[in-house]
Amino acid sequence: MKLTGSQIFWTLSTVEIIMAVWLRVSPAIETAKQDAWMSMIIAGAIGLAITYLVTHVSLLHPGETLTQFSRKLLGGWIGRIVILPYFVAWFLLSGDVLRSFADFIHLTILDRTPIWILMVMILALAVYLTGISGITGIGRFCELAGPVTFITLILTFLLNAMNTKLLHILPIVGDSSWQEVFKASLPPASFFGESFMLLVLLAFISSKKKIIVKALSSIVFTSIMVMLATVMVLLVFGPYVGMELRFSYFMLVRSINILNFIQNVDVLVIFIWIFGVFAKISLYLFITSYEMAQWLHVKNWKKLMWFCAPAIFIIALLIPNEASIMMLQKLWERIVIPVCAIAIPLFLWMMTVMRRKITKH
């Protein structure tokens, strides 16, 4: 199981773009009004810092996943306890993503189909892909789905060019203060900070060359795309309508009207989105199963898929309503990112440096 540099790039960008463009545009507009696009840039910068940290820590332990090196650094038990927050984070995240996407599909296109069927189908396919080809397969899948998503985004922006009204983005930092701009950047930053999954993924790279560049550039790429989406939403709807829309990017797609013929293409974009969300679910299924196998000392990680997939499904089923999805996102922003993406990697980094110094002396 190997990943190439470009697979890292596309995996990271695909799973982050689809989530951020889908869910993070309107909340940012709500806080920062027409300056939300600046918040996206700041969020990208925060994401870059987090990514640099986790990439650096991970590359200090080539060929080892998070569980492997934390156990080596901290010893069996402490090493295991340190990993626990990650499991909580990943399981919650994948359950949350699965549920909110199924809800979204249910809302927009299949309002009479039971949600659990939609979730089971996505999960079953994820088990299939992860089971037969592991992380390599997911990487390759993202190499296909990523560019397609990217092209779709660009196309929808271009086709909306007729609907834009440049004045909507003015005044710059007039209505909202810098504080609000910064505040609005935190939720998207927490989505970009999801890159702490690199702690696991970077164990599979085929060569160390340029990996840092690839990982960082994928965050840059993601934040640019999210920023463009925000700018487009602002230009078409203006800040006041934009913040009222729950899925403003899809509304943006919906306002495309070319020659009175290409209309309502949001269903088509949702079609593309399914690919990205599927990649994300598969990726987390792999990460959780693989890490859990390391954690429990099980040789064949594929066996643990049969635990992780139902677990994700049950978490997704247990989420009662939209309010708790919001709560989970808050939890992600306030607790998971500071702990899993900043505190523990920093701690592990320090431990590594200290260990190396001790062995040198």
Binding site: S6, I132, F141, N260, I274
Partner: protein, 488 residues
């Protein structure tokens, strides 16, 4: 029942020959019992040297036997004083016959095998060896134009059933001693010659070893077509997609060889396999590299789009009209609805009926003799196309959708690659019928996951797009001019 009692021969074919011609003759005659086409011919030279000629009638060149073998033997006899001669066989071999290939064997099995391949066996009294001379000459098809892979530009030759002819064609194109042709005989009954051709130095050794070991492991009664070999050495049987490129064009195979692939030629089959294959090969036409690049780039995109169309169009039609009518422009949607007003079947069923009819027509068109072939299309077009629509049984848009998708599947240059596209339509139809575009997406993801997983002979099927090889991926989408393609 009867044949079970009639044991063919009780003798062990692995036995060595004896010194006595009579014994040998008896043995061989028992082996070839009831084989009316095997001829035994006794010749006595100068009164004392007894020779026995055995051959299969119709597989040898009688002129050569008469002029090159029989004449000198009978009229001139054994030449004298040329030096010590161990055996008649050796004498014939070295001094007498103006034939190219000869060999000596000394078991009945080897002798029988070669006789059956069109060799002339010569047995001499007092010698436990058989001299076999290759005088085989049987009727074969001449080289014709490729029938399944026609190209506007490029060679007009196609492979024939004769392996030698085929290898010759390759040799004529690739003139280097590095073009290796390893030969295997496969099939207990057919003893078919299978040749692995590759260019030494270009081919990856690990892949070659893998292919070799797989070919050696083949255990078949008979090999009638290269499809037998394909099935025996492919990675997985559970895939609708072909894992080997099959071609009857020497230029396609040579191109494959020069890219470092291995060609598998099978005697008796004009279809040569090229391993490994990628997804994109299935969508490339033989003359892609002979025409101007811009035009071909456009053509490639048309093919990619139509391939997608072939697999998706009917299911997307169902999804859009029955699940997401908001996506169809209002005017179009209203005229579709207007045409559907009296349709008795639900859309999904309608598409299914038409798809089945279409596949039936296609199948009928292949099997029918050429004289009645057009009849099928007339009946199909009239009955199914027009009458069904006019009678209001099938709505007109469905006919358009199904035939458009059918035609798109024929745009795919390799006909074998069109099969999976047409076949996968059906599961996609079911999925879209239940879940709309979500179902279509799920189906596509499943197909993609499968394609990603396929790695025939260790090379990923979707290469060079996933995993991405930057320099080569460009060529999948653009077919750059040669100079630039080799530079990048």
């Amino acid at each position: 029942m009867n044949s079970a009692n009639q044991k063919p021969t009780n003798i062990d074919p692995n036995l060595p020959l004896s010194r006595h011609l009579v014994d040998n003759e008896h043995m061989l005659k028992t082996m070839f019992e009831r084989c009316s086409d095997v001829i035994f011919r006794d010749v006595t030279l100068q009164g004392d040297t007894k020779l026995l000629f055995i051959y299969v009638d119709g597989m040898i060149d009688k002129d050569i036997i008469q002029s090159v073998i029989l004449k000198p033997l009978i009229y001139e006899g054994i030449p004298q004083g040329v030096g010590p001669i161990d055996s008649i066989a050796q004498m014939c071999d070295q001094q007498l016959f103006a034939v190219l290939q000869t060999k000596k064997v000394n078991t009945f099995r080897d002798a029988a095998d070669d006789i059956l391949k069109g060799h002339l066996a010569i047995l001499a009294d007092g010698e436990p060896t058989v001299l076999l001379t290759d005088v085989s000459d049987y009727e074969t098809r001449s080289i014709e134009e490729p029938s399944t892979e026609s190209a506007l530009r490029g060679t007009r030759e196609s492979f024939t059933e004769s392996l030698r002819t085929n290898t010759t064609m390759l040799r004529r194109i690739i003139v280097t001693p590095n073009l290796k042709m390893e030969s295997y005989n496969i099939g207990k009954l057919t003893q078919t010659e299978v040749v692995l051709a590759y260019i030494d130095g270009l081919v990856s050794t690990s892949m070659l070893d893998e292919i070799r070991s797989r070919v050696e492991r083949i255990d078949l009664q008979g090999v009638l077509e290269s499809g037998y070999i394909e099935e025996s050495i492919e990675d997985t049987h559970y895939s609708p997609f072909p894992q080997m490129l099959s071609s009857e064009r020497p230029d396609v195979v040579s191109a494959g060889l020069m890219e470092g692939r291995v060609a598998v030629l099978v005697n008796g089959s004009p279809i040569t396999l090229v391993v490994p294959m990628t997804f994109w090969d299935g969508l490339q036409a033989p003359d892609d590299y002979y025409e101007r690049f811009m035009y071909i780039t456009m053509n490639r995109w048309i093919r990619y789009l139509f391939a997608l169309f072939a697999i998706l169009f009917p299911s997307v039609y169902i999804a859009l009209t029955t699940y997401h009518p908001e996506m169809v422009p209002p005017k179009l949607m209203l005229s579709i609805t207007g045409l559907r007003e009296q349709a008795p079947f639900p859309t999904v069923i309608e598409v299914f009926i038409m798809e089945f009819m279409f596949e039936g027509l296609r199948e009928a068109g292949i099997r029918l003799p050429q004289q009645i072939g057009p009849l099928v299309s007339i009946v199909g077009a009239l009955v199914i196309g027009q009458a069904a629509v006019q009678a209001g049984i099938i709505s007109a848009p469905i006919v358009i959708v199904v035939s458009a998708a059918g035609i798109s599947s024929f745009v795919i240059p390799r006909y074998r690659f069109g099969y999976p596209m047409r076949m996968l339509r059906f599961p996609l139809l079911v999925l879209s019928g239940i879940f709309g575009l979500f179902g279509t997406a799920i189906g596509m993801i499943a197909i993609l996951s499968h394609l990603i997983h396929l790695t025939p002979f260790g090379s990923p099927y979707l290469q060079p797009v996933a995993p991405t090889k930057k320099n080569r991926a460009k060529n999948v989408f653009l077919r750059l001019p040669r100079k630039r393609a080799s530079k990048s």
